[in-house]
Subunit: 307 residues, 2 copies
Amino acid sequence: MREFELLKIVEELFGCEEDEELRVPAGSHDAAYIKFGDTYLVLTCDTVNEISDFPPYMSAEEMGEMAVAVTLSDLAACGSSPMYFLSSISIKEADKDFFKGILKGIRNACNRYGVKVAGGDIDFAPHTTIAGFAVGITDKIVTRSGARPGEKVYVTAPLGKAQLCLEMLSSGLGRERLPYPDSLYRPIPRINEGKNIARFAGALTDISDSLAVSLHQIAESSGVRIVLERVKLPLAHLTKYVDQKKSLDLFLYGGGDYELIFTADDRAAQKYGIEIGYVKKGKGVYIQDEDKKLQKVEMKGYSHFDV
Amino acid sequence: MREFELLKIVEELFGCEEDEELRVPAGSHDAAYIKFGDTYLVLTCDTVNEISDFPPYMSAEEMGEMAVAVTLSDLAACGSSPMYFLSSISIKEADKDFFKGILKGIRNACNRYGVKVAGGDIDFAPHTTIAGFAVGITDKIVTRSGARPGEKVYVTAPLGKAQLCLEMLSSGLGRERLPYPDSLYRPIPRINEGKNIARFAGALTDISDSLAVSLHQIAESSGVRIVLERVKLPLAHLTKYVDQKKSLDLFLYGGGDYELIFTADDRAAQKYGIEIGYVKKGKGVYIQDEDKKLQKVEMKGYSHFDV
């Protein structure tokens, strides 16, 4: 979790720079909101690289698609409509087919989500890296800090599939035998879901590191406690392959799913998410078992260093 | 120059995507212009890394400053006002002081140019890399394709200083003995110059790879020939240290200066630039010696691989 220590330095240096125009600055949400005429521009950047993000057997096209998906996921977490994408691509050598594959992946993903490719930059480096930058627009600000006691907590789909597959690969299973290969190789940003959810959600964010990390970020920025209900967590997709304990671990701490997590008190929320817990006064993140006993959920998850 | 081969692939895949809204798309200029209400948003990204861009003895703060400078230089090349900066920073390990140095450099440079830091992303990788993204605004589109026969060619300052210093370092000279250390360690984006020049220039771009590369890009996109006049090139800052031939080589093919190059027929241009040649019908880039003999200027320059 060394990344979080570094994020503290970011906050120390840039944290107080909010103003009338830059409404949600660096470090405090998935993306920055900027007042621009009648609307907000939403700006974000995200990087994927072959050391920490590309699983074995990933094709160049899938790398390009992934770069778009993880960057747009930040915009989905703001309920915004993605408009433009740019990327800085670093590759080892001028391998035309490989480079073309990455670009095709970027183009296809951008076409799929109605996003225009507005520019890019090429660099050479010992490892393939794609830094993505996206611009979205929205009329409304929704962040991690709007969770209120009494709301329920929802997630857009069952979690842990990408991490399960990654660990299966590490233990020697081939790509073709993975149960959920698309979770790992072709993550999907929840753009339409984000736009709908933003209309009624208190807090909204995406899950890139882990559910636990996202919940801690919501709890801390909103000044609330979040309690997960063990009995409500959908784990069947995992218990088919691993035991109960490991399934829970993957659900809470696995990375790479790029689903949205949100809090809401509206029954309409059921349409867009699976209820997994609730918000109350206090602080921290807990999980409640069937006997109502509370256990702490740690702030940990997929780290760029851990895999 | 393998980068240019890759740029052809970019053009092949994305080249025709210009439309009413995305006015100057990926690959055709330093940055993309996007019609947004009454104005244009200008979007760009640029990456610097320790393998190809950071000279020996560079401090973490200077790395951060450089990332901002080279990205904003693209916006200067559009005559736009830079507004927001984001960066994806990859570092080897969670070295707090090093990371803080990079961020301070980013903050200081952004403060200096009146740019707000709107976000960022941290990643771990074997080599330090900073991918910068910037958003500017402007009311007018100026690109590489507006050069017209009869115009003169100007550059904002004498060139070759960064490359001279880099080569001096390679041959064993210490940083403290370099004649132009700031050219190498603290490049300055020509933002105010760009805004002024955009009012009257035919074509405008910045020099990142080399004067030769930028001139070829202007000549090709404008469908004109560019002729440099040997006698007009200011070389005294170089001939103090190397011979005439090497000085000319550094001026034409050296990288890292981040000055602006533009074409104009206005006498006002003299205020912002040094006249170095002229535009005529035809194609290609040539240099004319005192006897009016023409020699080809090659499309080459500092490549990310060459140093």
